[in-house]
Protein backbone atom coordinates (compact mmCIF):
# COMPACT_ATOMS: atom_id res chain seq x y z
CA UNK A 1 0.00 0.00 0.00
CA UNK A 2 1.06 3.59 -0.69
CA UNK A 3 4.52 3.07 -2.18
CA UNK A 4 6.48 6.19 -3.01
CA UNK A 5 9.73 6.62 -4.86
CA UNK A 6 11.87 9.64 -5.28
CA UNK A 7 14.79 9.76 -7.67
CA UNK A 8 15.90 10.83 -11.11
CA UNK A 9 13.81 11.08 -14.25
CA UNK A 10 16.01 11.58 -17.24
CA UNK A 11 16.62 11.56 -20.94
CA UNK A 12 19.20 8.90 -21.77
CA UNK A 13 21.26 8.05 -24.79
CA UNK A 14 22.43 4.47 -24.49
CA UNK A 15 24.91 2.53 -26.59
CA UNK A 16 25.20 -1.23 -25.99
CA UNK A 17 26.70 -4.09 -28.03
CA UNK A 18 23.11 -4.76 -29.16
CA UNK A 19 22.43 -1.27 -30.52
CA UNK A 20 21.92 2.37 -29.74
CA UNK A 21 18.96 4.41 -28.57
CA UNK A 22 18.92 8.19 -28.49
CA UNK A 23 16.99 10.43 -26.12
CA UNK A 24 14.96 7.72 -24.47
CA UNK A 25 13.14 7.89 -21.15
CA UNK A 26 15.35 6.84 -18.24
CA UNK A 27 16.23 7.62 -14.62
CA UNK A 28 16.14 5.62 -11.41
CA UNK A 29 12.68 6.84 -10.41
CA UNK A 30 11.28 5.95 -13.82
CA UNK A 31 12.56 2.36 -13.89
CA UNK A 32 11.62 1.79 -10.26
CA UNK A 33 8.09 3.11 -10.68
CA UNK A 34 7.37 1.12 -13.83
CA UNK A 35 8.61 -2.10 -12.19
CA UNK A 36 6.74 -1.54 -8.93
CA UNK A 37 3.51 -0.69 -10.77
CA UNK A 38 2.94 -4.38 -11.57
CA UNK A 39 2.42 -4.99 -7.85
CA UNK A 40 0.92 -1.88 -6.31
CA UNK A 41 0.04 1.78 -6.90
CA UNK A 42 3.15 3.97 -7.09
CA UNK A 43 3.65 7.63 -6.32
CA UNK A 44 6.68 9.54 -7.56
CA UNK A 45 8.49 12.68 -6.49
CA UNK A 46 10.82 14.14 -9.06
CA UNK A 47 11.47 17.10 -11.31
CA UNK A 48 12.02 17.41 -15.04
CA UNK A 49 12.58 20.43 -17.27
CA UNK A 50 10.45 22.17 -19.82
CA UNK A 51 12.14 20.05 -22.50
CA UNK A 52 10.61 16.83 -21.13
CA UNK A 53 8.80 15.19 -24.07
CA UNK A 54 5.03 14.81 -23.77
CA UNK A 55 5.15 11.19 -24.91
CA UNK A 56 7.30 10.35 -21.88
CA UNK A 57 4.44 11.47 -19.64
CA UNK A 58 2.27 8.92 -21.42
CA UNK A 59 4.66 6.18 -20.32
CA UNK A 60 3.94 7.06 -16.70
CA UNK A 61 0.22 7.02 -17.56
CA UNK A 62 0.63 3.56 -19.10
CA UNK A 63 1.94 2.25 -15.78
CA UNK A 64 -0.78 4.17 -13.88
CA UNK A 65 1.88 5.97 -11.85
CA UNK A 66 0.60 8.80 -9.64
CA UNK A 67 2.45 11.84 -11.00
CA UNK A 68 1.08 14.43 -8.57
CA UNK A 69 4.66 14.74 -7.29
CA UNK A 70 6.21 15.18 -10.74
CA UNK A 71 7.17 18.79 -11.26
CA UNK A 72 7.76 20.13 -14.76
CA UNK A 73 9.95 23.04 -13.79
CA UNK A 74 9.85 26.26 -15.76
CA UNK A 75 13.21 27.40 -17.09
CA UNK A 76 14.87 24.12 -16.21
CA UNK A 77 16.27 21.32 -18.36
CA UNK A 78 15.77 17.61 -17.73
CA UNK A 79 18.61 15.50 -16.36
CA UNK A 80 20.38 13.73 -19.20
CA UNK A 81 22.87 10.87 -19.40
CA UNK A 82 24.79 9.22 -22.21
CA UNK A 83 26.45 5.90 -21.55
CA UNK A 84 28.16 3.13 -23.44
CA UNK A 85 28.31 -0.49 -22.27
CA UNK A 86 31.28 -2.78 -22.73
CA UNK A 87 31.07 -6.10 -24.57
CA UNK A 88 30.38 -7.92 -21.29
CA UNK A 89 27.15 -5.86 -20.81
CA UNK A 90 28.21 -5.25 -17.21
CA UNK A 91 30.72 -2.44 -17.24
CA UNK A 92 29.84 0.90 -18.73
CA UNK A 93 31.34 4.30 -19.34
CA UNK A 94 29.46 7.53 -18.84
CA UNK A 95 30.14 9.57 -21.97
CA UNK A 96 28.21 12.63 -20.88
CA UNK A 97 26.07 13.66 -17.93
CA UNK A 98 24.10 16.88 -17.47
CA UNK A 99 22.53 17.09 -14.00
CA UNK A 100 20.42 20.13 -14.98
CA UNK A 101 17.26 20.13 -12.82
CA UNK A 102 18.71 17.42 -10.56
CA UNK A 103 21.22 19.97 -9.28
CA UNK A 104 18.42 22.28 -8.16
CA UNK A 105 16.08 22.13 -5.16
CA UNK A 106 13.89 19.07 -4.71
CA UNK A 107 10.27 19.40 -5.77
CA UNK A 108 7.76 19.68 -2.93
CA UNK A 109 6.09 16.50 -1.69
CA UNK A 110 2.32 16.78 -2.33
CA UNK A 111 0.19 16.75 0.80
CA UNK A 112 -1.69 13.73 -0.56
CA UNK A 113 1.55 11.76 -0.34
CA UNK A 114 2.12 12.28 3.38
CA UNK A 115 0.44 9.02 4.36
CA UNK A 116 2.91 6.95 2.29
CA UNK A 117 4.12 3.89 4.20
CA UNK A 118 6.62 2.33 1.83
CA UNK A 119 9.40 4.70 0.82
CA UNK A 120 12.17 4.12 -1.69
CA UNK A 121 14.84 6.78 -1.79
CA UNK A 122 16.53 6.18 -5.12
CA UNK A 123 20.12 7.23 -5.49
CA UNK A 124 20.72 10.91 -4.72
CA UNK A 125 22.62 12.99 -2.13
CA UNK A 126 22.08 11.36 1.29
CA UNK A 127 21.31 14.78 2.76
CA UNK A 128 18.40 15.09 0.35
CA UNK A 129 17.34 11.52 1.12
CA UNK A 130 17.28 12.36 4.84
CA UNK A 131 15.24 15.49 4.22
CA UNK A 132 12.67 13.53 2.20
CA UNK A 133 12.43 10.79 4.77
CA UNK A 134 11.23 13.17 7.44
CA UNK A 135 8.22 14.09 5.31
CA UNK A 136 6.58 10.68 5.69
CA UNK A 137 5.45 10.33 9.30
CA UNK A 138 3.52 7.09 8.57
CA UNK A 139 6.54 5.31 7.11
CA UNK A 140 6.59 1.58 7.66
CA UNK A 141 9.54 0.60 5.47
CA UNK A 142 12.25 2.91 4.17
CA UNK A 143 14.86 1.62 1.74
CA UNK A 144 17.55 3.74 0.11
CA UNK A 145 19.94 3.28 -2.78
CA UNK A 146 23.30 5.03 -2.94
CA UNK A 147 26.43 5.20 -5.10
CA UNK A 148 30.21 5.59 -4.98
CA UNK A 149 29.98 9.38 -5.40
CA UNK A 150 28.12 9.85 -2.08
CA UNK A 151 30.23 7.28 -0.27
CA UNK A 152 33.24 9.40 -1.16
CA UNK A 153 31.87 12.95 -0.98
CA UNK A 154 29.03 12.79 1.56
CA UNK A 155 30.15 9.99 3.84
CA UNK A 156 29.01 11.55 7.13
CA UNK A 157 25.55 12.28 5.76
CA UNK A 158 25.32 8.75 4.39
CA UNK A 159 26.30 7.22 7.74
CA UNK A 160 23.67 9.39 9.44
CA UNK A 161 21.06 8.24 6.91
CA UNK A 162 21.92 4.58 7.54
CA UNK A 163 20.78 4.96 11.13
CA UNK A 164 17.35 6.19 9.98
CA UNK A 165 16.45 3.65 7.30
CA UNK A 166 15.36 0.01 7.30
CA UNK A 167 17.27 -1.19 4.27
CA UNK A 168 20.07 -0.18 1.94
CA UNK A 169 20.45 -1.36 -1.66
CA UNK A 170 23.81 -0.99 -3.39
CA UNK A 171 26.24 -2.68 -5.80
CA UNK A 172 29.01 -5.00 -4.65
CA UNK A 173 31.75 -2.53 -5.62
CA UNK A 174 29.94 0.19 -3.65
CA UNK A 175 29.61 -2.12 -0.63
CA UNK A 176 33.36 -2.72 -0.71
CA UNK A 177 34.01 1.02 -0.97
CA UNK A 178 31.62 1.84 1.89
CA UNK A 179 33.04 -0.77 4.27
CA UNK A 180 36.69 -1.14 3.25
CA UNK A 181 36.15 -4.91 3.07
CA UNK A 182 37.00 -7.14 0.11
CA UNK A 183 34.71 -10.03 1.01
CA UNK A 184 30.97 -9.89 0.29
CA UNK A 185 29.81 -11.46 3.57
CA UNK A 186 32.06 -9.25 5.67
CA UNK A 187 30.99 -6.14 3.78
CA UNK A 188 27.32 -7.04 4.19
CA UNK A 189 27.67 -7.64 7.93
CA UNK A 190 29.48 -4.33 8.33
CA UNK A 191 26.72 -2.40 6.55
CA UNK A 192 24.10 -3.94 8.85
CA UNK A 193 26.33 -2.91 11.74
CA UNK A 194 26.03 0.69 10.50
CA UNK A 195 22.33 0.82 11.30
CA UNK A 196 19.86 -0.62 8.78
CA UNK A 197 17.95 -3.85 9.47
CA UNK A 198 19.14 -5.23 6.15
CA UNK A 199 21.30 -4.60 3.12
CA UNK A 200 20.83 -5.92 -0.40
CA UNK A 201 24.10 -6.14 -2.30
CA UNK A 202 23.44 -6.32 -6.04
CA UNK A 203 25.84 -8.31 -8.20
CA UNK A 204 24.28 -7.61 -11.61
CA UNK A 205 23.96 -10.79 -13.68
CA UNK A 206 25.26 -12.75 -10.67
CA UNK A 207 22.25 -12.02 -8.49
CA UNK A 208 22.24 -10.56 -4.99
CA UNK A 209 23.06 -11.12 -1.36
CA UNK A 210 20.64 -10.08 1.35
CA UNK A 211 22.12 -9.68 4.81
CA UNK A 212 19.38 -9.23 7.39
CA UNK A 213 19.55 -9.02 11.16
CA UNK A 214 17.58 -12.27 11.20
CA UNK A 215 19.21 -14.20 8.37
CA UNK A 216 20.52 -14.21 4.86
CA UNK A 217 19.53 -14.77 1.23
CA UNK A 218 21.76 -15.47 -1.74
CA UNK A 219 19.75 -15.44 -4.92
CA UNK A 220 20.68 -15.74 -8.59
CA UNK A 221 19.57 -13.39 -11.33
CA UNK A 222 17.16 -14.77 -13.90
CA UNK A 223 19.42 -15.72 -16.83
CA UNK A 224 18.63 -13.92 -20.09
CA UNK A 225 19.96 -14.90 -23.51
CA UNK A 226 19.24 -11.63 -25.33
CA UNK A 227 20.33 -8.69 -23.22
CA UNK A 228 19.66 -5.47 -25.13
CA UNK A 229 20.21 -2.76 -22.50
CA UNK A 230 21.14 -3.28 -18.82
CA UNK A 231 20.23 0.34 -17.90
CA UNK A 232 17.75 0.41 -15.04
CA UNK A 233 18.24 -3.25 -14.08
CA UNK A 234 19.07 -2.33 -10.49
CA UNK A 235 16.22 0.17 -10.25
CA UNK A 236 13.64 -2.21 -11.73
CA UNK A 237 14.95 -4.91 -9.36
CA UNK A 238 14.35 -2.58 -6.42
CA UNK A 239 10.95 -1.63 -7.86
CA UNK A 240 9.82 -5.24 -8.07
CA UNK A 241 11.10 -5.90 -4.56
CA UNK A 242 9.42 -2.86 -2.96
CA UNK A 243 6.28 -3.32 -5.02
CA UNK A 244 5.80 -6.84 -3.69
CA UNK A 245 6.57 -5.80 -0.11
CA UNK A 246 4.11 -2.92 -0.28
CA UNK A 247 1.41 -5.08 -1.85
CA UNK A 248 1.80 -7.92 0.63
CA UNK A 249 2.56 -5.89 3.76
CA UNK A 250 4.67 -8.79 5.00
CA UNK A 251 8.16 -7.71 6.05
CA UNK A 252 9.29 -11.14 7.24
CA UNK A 253 12.56 -12.59 5.96
CA UNK A 254 10.92 -15.31 3.82
CA UNK A 255 8.77 -12.71 2.09
CA UNK A 256 11.76 -10.44 1.66
CA UNK A 257 13.48 -13.30 -0.21
CA UNK A 258 10.40 -13.67 -2.40
CA UNK A 259 10.47 -9.92 -3.02
CA UNK A 260 14.10 -10.14 -4.16
CA UNK A 261 13.26 -13.00 -6.51
CA UNK A 262 10.36 -11.05 -8.00
CA UNK A 263 12.69 -8.06 -8.35
CA UNK A 264 15.16 -10.26 -10.23
CA UNK A 265 12.38 -11.41 -12.55
CA UNK A 266 11.17 -7.88 -13.33
CA UNK A 267 14.78 -6.79 -13.93
CA UNK A 268 15.23 -9.69 -16.34
CA UNK A 269 12.39 -8.33 -18.49
CA UNK A 270 13.73 -4.81 -18.22
CA UNK A 271 17.09 -5.65 -19.83
CA UNK A 272 15.39 -7.20 -22.86
CA UNK A 273 14.76 -3.79 -24.47
CA UNK A 274 15.90 -0.18 -24.34
CA UNK A 275 14.13 2.13 -21.87
CA UNK A 276 10.76 0.74 -20.71
CA UNK A 277 10.23 -0.98 -24.06
CA UNK A 278 9.79 -4.46 -22.65
CA UNK A 279 8.02 -3.55 -19.41
CA UNK A 280 5.42 -1.67 -21.49
CA UNK A 281 4.67 -4.88 -23.38
CA UNK A 282 4.26 -7.32 -20.49
CA UNK A 283 1.52 -7.97 -17.96
CA UNK A 284 1.56 -9.20 -14.37
CA UNK A 285 0.85 -12.73 -15.65
CA UNK A 286 4.15 -12.70 -17.59
CA UNK A 287 5.98 -11.87 -14.36
CA UNK A 288 4.22 -14.65 -12.51
CA UNK A 289 5.03 -17.13 -15.27
CA UNK A 290 8.73 -16.26 -15.24
CA UNK A 291 8.72 -16.33 -11.44
CA UNK A 292 7.50 -19.92 -11.72
CA UNK A 293 10.46 -20.67 -14.00
CA UNK A 294 12.74 -18.96 -11.49
CA UNK A 295 11.52 -21.20 -8.67
CA UNK A 296 11.89 -24.21 -10.96
CA UNK A 297 15.57 -23.34 -11.55
CA UNK A 298 16.08 -23.69 -7.79
CA UNK A 299 13.86 -26.73 -7.26
CA UNK A 300 15.76 -29.62 -5.72
CA UNK A 301 15.01 -33.22 -4.95
CA UNK A 302 14.08 -33.64 -1.27
Amino acid sequence: MSLIVTGSIGIDTVITPAGRADKILGGSCTYFAAAASFFTAVRIVGAVGEDFPREFLKVFEHFKVDTAGLEIRKGAKTFSWTGKYHDNMNDRDTLEVQPNVLAEALPPVPGTYRDSQYIFLANTHPGAQMELLSQFPSRKLVVADTMDLWIKTANAELLALLKQIDGLVLNDSEAYLLTGEKNLVKAARKVVGMGPKFVVIKKGEHGCLLEHREGRAMLPAFPIAEVIDPTGAGDSFAGGMMGHLAASGDLGLANLRKALALGAVVASFNVEAFSLGKLEKIKRADIDERFGQYLQMLAMAG
Copy 2:
Protein backbone atom coordinates in the same frame (compact mmCIF):
# COMPACT_ATOMS: atom_id res chain seq x y z
CA MET B 1 28.16 -46.59 -6.34
CA SER B 2 31.63 -47.17 -7.80
CA LEU B 3 32.72 -43.60 -8.52
CA ILE B 4 36.05 -43.19 -10.21
CA VAL B 5 38.08 -40.07 -10.88
CA THR B 6 41.16 -39.62 -12.95
CA GLY B 7 43.20 -36.43 -12.92
CA SER B 8 46.22 -34.72 -11.46
CA ILE B 9 47.80 -35.32 -8.08
CA GLY B 10 50.34 -32.67 -7.33
CA ILE B 11 52.54 -30.77 -4.99
CA ASP B 12 51.41 -27.14 -4.82
CA THR B 13 52.85 -23.95 -3.48
CA VAL B 14 50.05 -21.46 -3.01
CA ILE B 15 50.16 -17.78 -2.14
CA THR B 16 46.88 -16.03 -1.31
CA PRO B 17 46.05 -12.71 0.40
CA ALA B 18 45.47 -14.83 3.54
CA GLY B 19 48.91 -16.47 3.58
CA ARG B 20 51.27 -18.88 1.91
CA ALA B 21 51.65 -22.65 1.98
CA ASP B 22 54.63 -24.48 0.49
CA LYS B 23 54.67 -27.96 -0.99
CA ILE B 24 51.17 -28.95 -0.01
CA LEU B 25 49.06 -31.75 -1.46
CA GLY B 26 47.01 -30.61 -4.44
CA GLY B 27 45.74 -31.64 -7.86
CA SER B 28 42.29 -31.99 -9.40
CA CYS B 29 42.01 -35.72 -8.62
CA THR B 30 42.96 -35.10 -5.00
CA TYR B 31 40.39 -32.39 -4.31
CA PHE B 32 37.68 -34.25 -6.19
CA ALA B 33 38.28 -37.54 -4.38
CA ALA B 34 38.35 -35.98 -0.91
CA ALA B 35 35.09 -34.10 -1.58
CA ALA B 36 33.31 -37.12 -3.10
CA SER B 37 34.40 -39.38 -0.25
CA PHE B 38 31.80 -37.79 2.06
CA PHE B 39 29.10 -39.34 -0.13
CA THR B 40 30.41 -42.59 -1.56
CA ALA B 41 33.49 -44.78 -2.04
CA VAL B 42 35.96 -43.24 -4.50
CA ARG B 43 38.55 -44.84 -6.75
CA ILE B 44 41.35 -42.84 -8.29
CA VAL B 45 43.60 -43.28 -11.30
CA GLY B 46 46.72 -41.14 -11.32
CA ALA B 47 50.48 -41.13 -11.16
CA VAL B 48 52.96 -39.42 -8.88
CA GLY B 49 56.75 -39.54 -8.73
CA GLU B 50 59.19 -41.07 -6.30
CA ASP B 51 59.36 -37.71 -4.52
CA PHE B 52 55.69 -37.95 -3.42
CA PRO B 53 55.69 -37.51 0.38
CA ARG B 54 54.48 -40.46 2.44
CA GLU B 55 52.28 -38.26 4.60
CA PHE B 56 50.31 -37.28 1.48
CA LEU B 57 49.35 -40.93 1.05
CA LYS B 58 47.93 -40.81 4.55
CA VAL B 59 45.57 -38.04 3.43
CA PHE B 60 44.05 -40.41 0.87
CA GLU B 61 43.79 -43.02 3.64
CA HIS B 62 42.00 -40.49 5.84
CA PHE B 63 39.30 -40.10 3.17
CA LYS B 64 39.23 -43.89 2.61
CA VAL B 65 40.03 -43.38 -1.08
CA ASP B 66 40.77 -46.56 -3.03
CA THR B 67 44.34 -45.99 -4.25
CA ALA B 68 44.75 -49.22 -6.23
CA GLY B 69 44.97 -47.00 -9.32
CA LEU B 70 47.58 -44.65 -7.85
CA GLU B 71 50.95 -45.38 -9.39
CA ILE B 72 54.14 -44.20 -7.68
CA ARG B 73 56.33 -44.19 -10.76
CA LYS B 74 60.03 -45.01 -10.46
CA GLY B 75 62.36 -42.37 -11.85
CA ALA B 76 59.55 -39.85 -12.20
CA LYS B 77 58.82 -36.62 -10.38
CA THR B 78 55.39 -35.51 -9.13
CA PHE B 79 53.47 -32.76 -10.96
CA SER B 80 54.03 -29.44 -9.21
CA TRP B 81 52.35 -26.05 -9.42
CA THR B 82 53.01 -22.68 -7.81
CA GLY B 83 50.30 -20.04 -7.97
CA LYS B 84 49.48 -16.66 -6.52
CA TYR B 85 45.95 -15.31 -6.07
CA HIS B 86 44.97 -11.69 -6.57
CA ASP B 87 43.32 -9.61 -3.86
CA ASN B 88 39.86 -10.56 -5.16
CA MET B 89 40.61 -14.27 -4.44
CA ASN B 90 39.24 -15.09 -7.90
CA ASP B 91 42.01 -14.37 -10.39
CA ARG B 92 45.34 -16.09 -10.06
CA ASP B 93 48.73 -16.23 -11.76
CA THR B 94 50.66 -19.43 -12.29
CA LEU B 95 54.20 -18.65 -11.16
CA GLU B 96 55.63 -22.04 -12.04
CA VAL B 97 54.37 -25.35 -13.35
CA GLN B 98 56.29 -28.61 -13.80
CA PRO B 99 54.16 -31.28 -15.52
CA ASN B 100 56.74 -34.02 -14.76
CA VAL B 101 54.90 -37.37 -14.53
CA LEU B 102 51.72 -35.81 -15.96
CA ALA B 103 53.53 -35.47 -19.30
CA GLU B 104 54.19 -39.22 -19.40
CA ALA B 105 51.91 -42.16 -20.19
CA LEU B 106 48.77 -42.65 -18.11
CA PRO B 107 48.92 -45.29 -15.39
CA PRO B 108 47.03 -48.51 -16.15
CA VAL B 109 43.46 -48.81 -14.88
CA PRO B 110 43.31 -51.70 -12.37
CA GLY B 111 41.07 -54.59 -13.40
CA THR B 112 39.08 -54.15 -10.21
CA TYR B 113 38.00 -50.71 -11.46
CA ARG B 114 36.44 -51.93 -14.70
CA ASP B 115 32.94 -52.11 -13.21
CA SER B 116 32.94 -48.40 -12.33
CA GLN B 117 29.65 -46.73 -13.25
CA TYR B 118 30.24 -43.08 -12.35
CA ILE B 119 33.25 -41.61 -14.11
CA PHE B 120 34.76 -38.17 -13.64
CA LEU B 121 37.47 -37.22 -16.09
CA ALA B 122 39.22 -34.33 -14.39
CA ASN B 123 40.97 -31.80 -16.56
CA THR B 124 43.59 -33.33 -18.86
CA HIS B 125 44.14 -33.74 -22.65
CA PRO B 126 40.78 -34.73 -24.22
CA GLY B 127 42.53 -37.52 -26.12
CA ALA B 128 43.60 -39.07 -22.85
CA GLN B 129 40.09 -38.54 -21.44
CA MET B 130 38.62 -40.39 -24.43
CA GLU B 131 41.09 -43.25 -24.01
CA LEU B 132 40.17 -43.64 -20.33
CA LEU B 133 36.48 -43.51 -21.02
CA SER B 134 36.62 -46.61 -23.19
CA GLN B 135 37.97 -48.64 -20.28
CA PHE B 136 34.73 -48.48 -18.31
CA PRO B 137 32.15 -50.58 -20.16
CA SER B 138 29.61 -50.34 -17.30
CA ARG B 139 29.61 -46.56 -17.29
CA LYS B 140 26.31 -44.98 -16.30
CA LEU B 141 27.35 -41.32 -16.02
CA VAL B 142 30.48 -39.75 -17.48
CA VAL B 143 31.34 -36.15 -16.71
CA ALA B 144 34.48 -34.36 -17.86
CA ASP B 145 36.23 -31.13 -16.93
CA THR B 146 38.37 -29.19 -19.39
CA MET B 147 40.34 -25.97 -19.66
CA ASP B 148 41.35 -23.18 -22.06
CA LEU B 149 44.55 -24.97 -23.06
CA TRP B 150 42.68 -27.93 -24.60
CA ILE B 151 39.99 -25.73 -26.12
CA LYS B 152 42.80 -23.96 -28.00
CA THR B 153 45.26 -26.79 -28.70
CA ALA B 154 43.14 -29.95 -28.90
CA ASN B 155 39.81 -28.62 -30.12
CA ALA B 156 38.97 -31.50 -32.47
CA GLU B 157 39.66 -34.09 -29.77
CA LEU B 158 37.57 -32.11 -27.29
CA LEU B 159 34.63 -31.89 -29.72
CA ALA B 160 34.89 -35.64 -30.28
CA LEU B 161 34.90 -36.23 -26.53
CA LEU B 162 31.78 -34.07 -26.08
CA LYS B 163 29.82 -36.54 -28.21
CA GLN B 164 30.78 -39.40 -25.87
CA ILE B 165 30.09 -37.92 -22.43
CA ASP B 166 26.98 -37.10 -20.43
CA GLY B 167 28.13 -33.87 -18.84
CA LEU B 168 30.80 -31.20 -19.13
CA VAL B 169 31.97 -28.98 -16.28
CA LEU B 170 33.92 -25.83 -17.07
CA ASN B 171 34.41 -22.18 -16.05
CA ASP B 172 32.47 -19.31 -17.58
CA SER B 173 35.52 -17.91 -19.38
CA GLU B 174 36.22 -21.37 -20.81
CA ALA B 175 32.60 -21.71 -21.95
CA TYR B 176 32.88 -18.40 -23.79
CA LEU B 177 36.14 -19.53 -25.38
CA LEU B 178 34.70 -22.89 -26.43
CA THR B 179 31.55 -21.45 -27.98
CA GLY B 180 32.54 -17.99 -29.16
CA GLU B 181 29.53 -16.60 -27.29
CA LYS B 182 29.57 -13.75 -24.79
CA ASN B 183 26.30 -14.57 -23.04
CA LEU B 184 26.10 -17.34 -20.45
CA VAL B 185 22.76 -18.81 -21.57
CA LYS B 186 23.77 -18.83 -25.24
CA ALA B 187 27.13 -20.41 -24.42
CA ALA B 188 25.46 -23.08 -22.29
CA ARG B 189 22.91 -23.95 -24.98
CA LYS B 190 25.67 -24.19 -27.56
CA VAL B 191 27.71 -26.60 -25.43
CA VAL B 192 24.66 -28.87 -25.03
CA GLY B 193 24.27 -28.69 -28.80
CA MET B 194 27.78 -30.12 -29.09
CA GLY B 195 26.74 -33.45 -27.61
CA PRO B 196 26.51 -33.78 -23.83
CA LYS B 197 23.17 -34.06 -22.01
CA PHE B 198 24.18 -31.20 -19.74
CA VAL B 199 26.82 -28.62 -19.01
CA VAL B 200 27.68 -27.04 -15.68
CA ILE B 201 29.23 -23.60 -16.07
CA LYS B 202 31.10 -22.64 -12.91
CA LYS B 203 31.19 -18.96 -11.94
CA GLY B 204 33.39 -19.23 -8.84
CA GLU B 205 31.98 -17.23 -5.93
CA HIS B 206 28.94 -16.42 -8.11
CA GLY B 207 27.71 -20.00 -8.26
CA CYS B 208 26.88 -22.00 -11.38
CA LEU B 209 24.52 -22.47 -14.27
CA LEU B 210 23.34 -25.92 -15.27
CA GLU B 211 21.97 -26.24 -18.78
CA HIS B 212 20.34 -29.62 -19.25
CA ARG B 213 18.38 -31.01 -22.20
CA GLU B 214 15.38 -31.10 -19.86
CA GLY B 215 15.77 -27.83 -17.98
CA ARG B 216 18.02 -25.42 -16.16
CA ALA B 217 19.44 -24.58 -12.76
CA MET B 218 20.99 -21.35 -11.58
CA LEU B 219 22.45 -21.75 -8.13
CA PRO B 220 24.48 -19.47 -5.87
CA ALA B 221 27.70 -20.41 -4.15
CA PHE B 222 27.58 -20.72 -0.36
CA PRO B 223 28.94 -17.36 0.84
CA ILE B 224 32.09 -17.59 2.97
CA ALA B 225 33.52 -14.78 5.09
CA GLU B 226 37.03 -16.19 5.57
CA VAL B 227 38.38 -17.48 2.28
CA ILE B 228 41.92 -18.79 2.81
CA ASP B 229 42.69 -20.61 -0.44
CA PRO B 230 40.36 -21.03 -3.44
CA THR B 231 42.54 -23.78 -4.97
CA GLY B 232 40.49 -26.90 -5.66
CA ALA B 233 37.13 -25.15 -5.26
CA GLY B 234 35.98 -26.29 -8.70
CA ASP B 235 37.28 -29.82 -8.20
CA SER B 236 35.72 -30.22 -4.74
CA PHE B 237 32.47 -28.81 -6.18
CA ALA B 238 32.53 -31.49 -8.88
CA GLY B 239 33.45 -34.10 -6.26
CA GLY B 240 30.48 -33.25 -4.07
CA MET B 241 28.19 -33.25 -7.10
CA MET B 242 29.38 -36.60 -8.48
CA GLY B 243 29.58 -38.12 -5.00
CA HIS B 244 25.92 -37.38 -4.35
CA LEU B 245 24.85 -38.61 -7.81
CA ALA B 246 26.77 -41.86 -7.38
CA ALA B 247 25.41 -42.39 -3.87
CA SER B 248 21.81 -41.70 -4.82
CA GLY B 249 21.80 -43.24 -8.29
CA ASP B 250 19.20 -40.65 -9.30
CA LEU B 251 20.13 -38.78 -12.47
CA GLY B 252 16.93 -36.73 -12.68
CA LEU B 253 17.12 -32.97 -13.05
CA ALA B 254 15.85 -32.19 -9.53
CA ASN B 255 18.50 -34.47 -8.03
CA LEU B 256 21.14 -32.95 -10.29
CA ARG B 257 20.25 -29.56 -8.81
CA LYS B 258 20.61 -31.00 -5.32
CA ALA B 259 23.97 -32.46 -6.34
CA LEU B 260 25.14 -29.02 -7.50
CA ALA B 261 24.04 -27.47 -4.21
CA LEU B 262 25.89 -30.14 -2.22
CA GLY B 263 28.93 -29.53 -4.42
CA ALA B 264 28.72 -25.82 -3.63
CA VAL B 265 28.58 -26.62 0.08
CA VAL B 266 31.62 -28.93 -0.01
CA ALA B 267 33.54 -26.34 -2.05
CA SER B 268 32.68 -23.70 0.57
CA PHE B 269 34.43 -25.78 3.22
CA ASN B 270 37.36 -26.46 0.92
CA VAL B 271 38.26 -22.77 0.51
CA GLU B 272 38.42 -22.25 4.27
CA ALA B 273 41.94 -23.74 4.50
CA PHE B 274 44.97 -24.56 2.38
CA SER B 275 45.05 -27.98 0.70
CA LEU B 276 42.63 -30.46 2.31
CA GLY B 277 43.08 -28.83 5.72
CA LYS B 278 39.41 -28.09 6.25
CA LEU B 279 37.93 -31.16 4.57
CA GLU B 280 40.10 -33.30 6.85
CA LYS B 281 38.47 -31.70 9.88
CA ILE B 282 34.81 -31.99 8.94
CA LYS B 283 32.32 -34.84 8.90
CA ARG B 284 29.30 -35.58 6.74
CA ALA B 285 27.07 -34.04 9.41
CA ASP B 286 28.84 -30.68 8.92
CA ILE B 287 28.02 -30.82 5.22
CA ASP B 288 24.40 -31.64 5.94
CA GLU B 289 24.15 -28.79 8.44
CA ARG B 290 25.54 -26.25 5.97
CA PHE B 291 23.31 -27.68 3.23
CA GLY B 292 20.37 -26.87 5.51
CA GLN B 293 21.66 -23.29 5.76
CA TYR B 294 22.03 -23.21 1.98
CA LEU B 295 18.39 -24.22 1.49
CA GLN B 296 17.37 -21.66 4.09
CA MET B 297 19.11 -18.91 2.10
CA LEU B 298 16.78 -19.74 -0.79
CA ALA B 299 13.62 -20.30 1.25
CA MET B 300 10.80 -18.05 0.13
CA ALA B 301 7.34 -17.25 1.36
CA GLY B 302 4.73 -19.20 -0.62
